[in-house]
């Protein structure tokens, strides 16, 4: 048989039928960010929850202002303020049960405090007397993560481990818009979806990664759209609407706890202050834009709703402000005292058992400290 005859005898078959693994339509986020305050949905919101959110928002803003003032006094090495983003911070903390875990990034001190961590301990990293001040196991709050998105796979692993142990624990992991470009963001979302891990990924899209605007960060229709590619639902929410953020996160947490797998929630918000006190935000954005966002302020939005429904009078608002002042005064008093540092702590927590090399170095430092402590001129 000639080659041509062989070819003639060959009957190509069509490729096996291809079916998508999941119908993408239910995973897609809505075109508009979800809102509650100022809409008909607000009527269904729990008054107790709204009042609690309000108190925490006011306290949170005061905390941001106090911490920023402490950087100016040299009491904090740096403070990345979340002013303007308080609704996200507070909702993230309040939506979790005690047994759940929070995985914050460096800007999320407010969420850590709202979760119940001592305000002074939450600032240890930024003050510089150690890295993590609080006990992560006690509060079920991971250390504030400075590398971007690297804490997201930790949240996935922890939630997965909890499920393997039969515990109905949910992990909520926070990341910024810039962090969604990192490889760890991708790997974490992919692992979570494949393992159906009980995790909620919460992106606070505040418009800028230091100075780089979202348009230069991604070409996706929204960050929430990224969820579809992993096979998990994406939700888009107005990040300055505390009631909406709480509702969307609560839905996602409920779904995760019930075995429904992970969700990606993107909150559209804005960083009103600069990236940190070391940043000059006027180099990359105009005052008009900042002013527009200030008119969509999370505290004012909630205050209007509470007042309109008769849930907040001047006396109640005063009491909330007074509580915030008390918190700020206590924070100020604590932070104005110099921390007591023991240099020997440097060697205490490198390994369970120090290596012989570290033991030698520990003795070297001990001798140096002893020499320093000797009165001048002593032989």
């Amino acid at each position: 048989m000639t080659v041509m005859e062989q070819r003639g005898a060959y009957r190509p078959t069509p490729p096996p039928a291809w079916q998508p693994r999941t119908d993408p339509a239910p995973l897609l986020p809505d075109a508009e960010p979800y809102r509650v305050l100022g809409t008909e949905a607000a009527a269904g919101a729990d008054p107790e929850l709204l009042r609690r959110l309000y108190a925490e928002l006011v306290k949170g803003r005061r905390y941001n202002a106090q911490a920023t003032a402490l950087t100016k006094q040299g009491r904090l090495a740096v403070y990345p303020s979340s002013t303007g983003q308080e609704a996200c911070e507070v909702a993230a903390a309040l939506v979790l049960e005690e047994r759940d875990w929070l995985f914050p990034s460096y800007r999320d001190t407010l969420a850590v405090v709202a979760r119940g961590v001592d305000p002074v301990e939450a600032l240890t990293l930024l003050r510089g007397d150690w890295h993590t001040g609080y006990d992560p196991q006690q509060h079920r709050v991971a250390p504030l993560s400075t590398p971007l998105a690297t804490q997201l796979p930790h949240a996935v692993g922890l939630a997965h481990a909890a499920r393997l142990k039969g515990d109905d624990v949910v992990a909520l992991a926070m990341v910024g818009d810039g962090g969604t470009s990192e490889g760890d963001f991708h790997e974490a979302l992919n692992f979570a979806a494949v393992w159906q891990a009980p995790v909620v990924f919460f992106v606070q899209n505040n418009g800028f990664a230091i100075s780089v605007p979202l348009a230069k960060q991604t070409a996706a229709p929204s960050l929430a759209h990224k969820a579809v590619g992993y096979g998990m639902p994406g939700r888009l929410v107005d990040g300055n609407d505390a009631a909406a953020v709480h509702e969307v996160l609560a839905d996602a947490v409920r779904r995760a706890r019930a075995g429904g797998g992970p969700t990606l929630v993107e909150a559209i918000t804005y960083r009103v202050e600069a990236h940190t006190n070391a940043d000059d935000a006027t180099r990359y954005r105009g005052d008009a834009e900042v002013e527009t966002w200030k008119r969509h302020d999370p505290i004012a939005l909630l205050e209007q709703e509470l007042t309109a429904r008769g849930l907040l009078d001047e006396a109640a608002a005063d009491s909330v402000r007074q509580d915030a002042e008390t918190m700020a005064a206590a924070l100020r008093a604590h932070m104005n005292r110099d921390p007591e540092l023991d240099p020997m702590d440097l060697f205490a927590h490198v390994y369970a058992e120090p290596t012989p090399q570290l033991l030698e170095q520990r003795e070297q430092l001990r001798a140096e400290l002893a020499a320093e402590a000797e009165p001048e001129g002593a032989q």
């Binding site: 150690w130 890295h131 993590t132 006990d135 992560p136 196991q137 006690q138 991971a142 250390p143 590398p147 690297t150 997201l152 796979p153 930790h154 949240a155 996935v156 692993g157 922890l158 939630a159 997965h160 481990a161 909890a162 393997l164 142990k165 992990a171 490889g183 760890d184 790997e187 974490a188 992919n190 692992f191 494949v194 702590d345 205490a348 927590h349 490198v350 390994y351 369970a352 290596t355 012989p356 090399q357």
Partner: protein
Amino acid sequence: MTTVAVKPATMAQALTRALRDAMAADPSVHVMGEDVGTLGGVFRVTDGLAKEFGEDRCTDTPLAEAGILGTAVGMAMYGLRPVVEMQFDAFAYPAFEQLVSHVAKMRNRTRGRMPLPLTVRIPYGGGIGGVEHHSDSSEAYYMATPGLHVVTPATVADAYGLLRAAIASDDPVVFLEPKRLYWSKDSWNPEEPTSVEPIGRAVVRRSGRSATLITYGPSVPVCMEAAEAARAEGWDLEVVDLRSLVPFDDETVCASVRRTGRAVVVHESGGFGGPGGEIAARVTERCFHHLEAPVLRVAGFDLPYPPPMLERHHLPGVDRILDAVGRLQWEAES
């Protein structure tokens, strides 16, 4: 006392046995990585574990090294003891940030409140004819990262003992498996594998009087062979197998060098900025007055790992070690 037959076993078999025994002894031990489940690993080190312990405890993960190590961190935070497999040395680099920024630092960052008892198994080194990205010796990167233990076995018994010790450790351990020794056989009793060595102890593999070869992992058998060959030239060489690069056993190494007065460090990773520089400096600082010659290094060349048909020129072999030993005749030259 019953006598049990001591059968030859391979290093890969001993590692499998160590994983199996660790998983049987402690339900919190979880094995994870690409291909570790159904396939049993590309080197078959995890063979049978998924079948015996279930896919929840021996898990085929998505192909993503940062994700594998990053999720293992979260699992360790919740009280598990993950044993992660990085398929090949150069495939571990995407996980480097997790290793350096989180694995090595978590105990320190949290003042000891959040230790991470996890083991990262990395098949490393050349000599198996692998194409590029399959033969790197990355130990210097790991050694330079405080917070990690770094160990590497050279014998079948050590492979078992060190891996059990690594998994039992409350600190993260980078466990480097010399892949060209996977199929090396030793007389080792797989029915009674009781030898669990503490991490951080070197061992004298062969005693001698005229010089010390300081080495580890894949270079240990090469040094043993060189020591045998050197007898013909009148050299009686001692061979020290470090087993643990971090912590470093100054005591055993320096005791040997003080006895012999001469030392050569042998490893296949590059010499510049490599482990040998650190070891030579430590030995010199501690044994200067006992030394009859400078501490020499025999290392791989300072180049990206070569293609397989050229790797024999790169890897330190018996001849190159013997040349160095010859150069230890310092007084004669001066």
